[in-house]
Amino acid sequence: MKLIIAIIRPERLQAVQDALQKTLDEGDNYRLTVASVDGHGRATGETEYFRGQEVRTRMAQRTQITIGVNDAYVDRAIDAIVNAARSPNGEVGDGKIFVLPLEQVVRIRTGERGGSAI
């Protein structure tokens, strides 16, 4: 099992959700967790102003999605995210996907563990 953490543009969330749902619903059910984050990527040097005083600032709002998947679906999930999250010509700021090994999953409702709990 893997835990996929992807940082995407907020306006792409809906597309990514649709893509993931299509991909994952055949096997696993589609489930994910979304958080609001701030991204600092290539475009450094952004500044904010407070009464004329410059402050280095967070670059731009990003959406982080966390999704636990069984091994069989990892690549498909990645592809789904990449396709749905990429801006038309692939622009700086489109984001990243991180894949982490996932040792255990527990479904709180049932206490079930492992792949079937995802």
Partner: protein, 442 residues
């Protein structure tokens, strides 16, 4: 002396009819004394209309995405600064100066420039209030009207272009229209077109301009597929509350044009119709949604409130409270469907400035001709469609001015500064890219 003034209320009807017949009444020196009650009410009304501007800022700002919340508020706030000055410097003269050439299209009075000739103790007509407070009251209208437009082009309009646009628009659309409809020498005024507090001058003008401008600047990059969610409907509701409060000043303060003492029967009538129309409209919008989608939304209630207030604006001092309920309710229906049409025509009037102000204002202008009973009688009083015809003419002129004016001014501003921010700025949000700020660090 004051007892002369005291008999005035009984003349209101007669007077108002006169006004409607509109031969440029030579103002006789009837009322030489300040009426402190009327002045208090005009001071208050002016302050309340100013408060509508932050109210509008909140109303609009709540509906945009987090990354554009400040720029959206600024559209309203900067109008307080820019048009606030414009009005004092030339706006009042353009709107309420002597009709240039007697044509009733635009005014001018060198005296009024920077209020230089408006001595603080000069009274306004026979209303017992200083002319300065009338000028201030009207100035607040001039501020909020262009700010209303900003809702249609939110989240993508260049800030520099916006400032230039509203200055030109105030000069070439708003002031002439205000002159035609409200100034003693205005041709629509003389014709007897009724516009109590600005259905045509404020709402039709801003609403139709909004639509044109939205089309000129184009849709937001994420519209309609980008799940554009309001950053905080709490702000929008708060704004709607402030707008409702301020609108009492907007409408009931407009009694200054028709009666003395200003804080009298017509002001109270306008207050009452404002309340009843807004309540009816809020309820109707909510019920429409409930039926339509199964969800009565808070944004629906807020939108209904504004739609009702818009619809009653031109009619406020001319109709009964019961008529106001009907005007508000129908106003809600027409605005609701106008807004739904967007799903079909896909023009990104982002915060529905056209759907609510344009359509609501148009309905209100016509409804005035249907329901009015004072100072002239309209359709339901069995006086036929004369007044309705006048109202339609007024609305038509308003629409024409708005559409043509915005097309021309928009084209000019586009040529000079460009109407639209860059794609990158739009994507990262205007707050950080243009203003160097973020709305929240929570």
């Amino acid at each position: 002396m004051l007892s002369a003034a005291a008999t005035l209320p009984f003349l209101v009807l007669a007077q108002a009819t006169d006004l409607a017949q509109a031969a440029p009444t030579p103002t006789p020196a009837v009322q030489q004394v300040i009426d402190s009650g009327s002045t208090a009410w005009m001071l208050m009304s002016s302050a309340m209309v100013l408060l509508m501007v932050p109210g509008l800022a909140l109303f609009y700002a709540g509906m945009v995405r987090r990354k554009n919340v400040l720029t959206t508020m600024l559209h309203s706030f900067v109008a307080m600064a820019v048009i606030g000055l414009h009005w004092v410097l030339i706006g009042y003269s353009l709107a309420f100066g002597h009709s240039v050439g007697g044509l009733g299209i635009i005014g001018w009075n060198w005296d009024y420039v920077a209020f230089q000739g408006l001595s603080y103790d000069k009274l306004f007509a026979d209303k017992g209030v200083p002319e300065l407070v009338f000028a201030m009251f009207q100035g607040k209208f001039a501020i909020i009207t262009p700010a209303l437009i900003s809702g249609a082009v939110a989240e993508r309009f260049s800030f520099r272009a916006y400032i230039l646009f509203i200055v030109l628009w105030a000069t070439f659309v708003y002031c002439p229209l205000a002159h035609m409809v409200w100034a003693e020498g205005g041709w629509l005024f003389k014709l007897g077109v009724l516009d109590f507090a600005g259905g045509t001058v404020v709402h039709i003008a801003s609403g139709f301009s909004a639509l044109i401008l939205a089309m000129m600047v184009g849709n937001r990059r994420d519209y309609p597929d980008g799940a554009i969610m309001p950053n905080s409907l709490v702000l929008t509701l708060t704004g709607a509350g402030l707008l409702w409060f301020g609108w009492f000043g907007f409408n009931a303060g407009s009694a200054v044009a028709v009666q003395s003492p200003v804080a009298g029967s017509i002001a109270v009538l306008a207050f009452t119709t404002t309340q009843t129309a807004a309540a009816a409209a809020a309820l109707v919008w909510m019920l429409l949604e409930w039926r339509h989608t199964g969800k009565p939304t808070s944004l629906g209630v807020a939108s209904g409130i504004v739609a009702g207030l818009v619809a009653i604006t031109p009619a406020a001092g001319h109709v009964t409270p019961l008529s106001a309920i009907i005007i508000g309710a129908i106003g809600s229906v027409v605005c609701f469907f106008a807004v739904q049409l967007k799903a079909w025509h896909k023009k990104d009037d982002s915060l529905d400035a056209f759907g609510v102000h344009g359509i609501g204002g148009l309905w209100g202008a016509l409804a005035t001709g249907i329901f009015c009973f004072i100072p002239v009688k309209g359709l339901i009083s069995g006086e036929g469609i004369t007044q309705l015809g006048k109202q339609a003419l007024g609305a038509g002129v308003g629409i024409a001015m708005a559409v043509v004016g915005t097309l021309v001014i928009g084209t000019i501003v586009n040529a000079i500064l460009g109407l639209r921010v860059t794609d990158q700025q739009e994507r990262d949000g205007l707050d950080i890219t243009i203003h160097g700020e973020r709305g929240y660090h929570l």
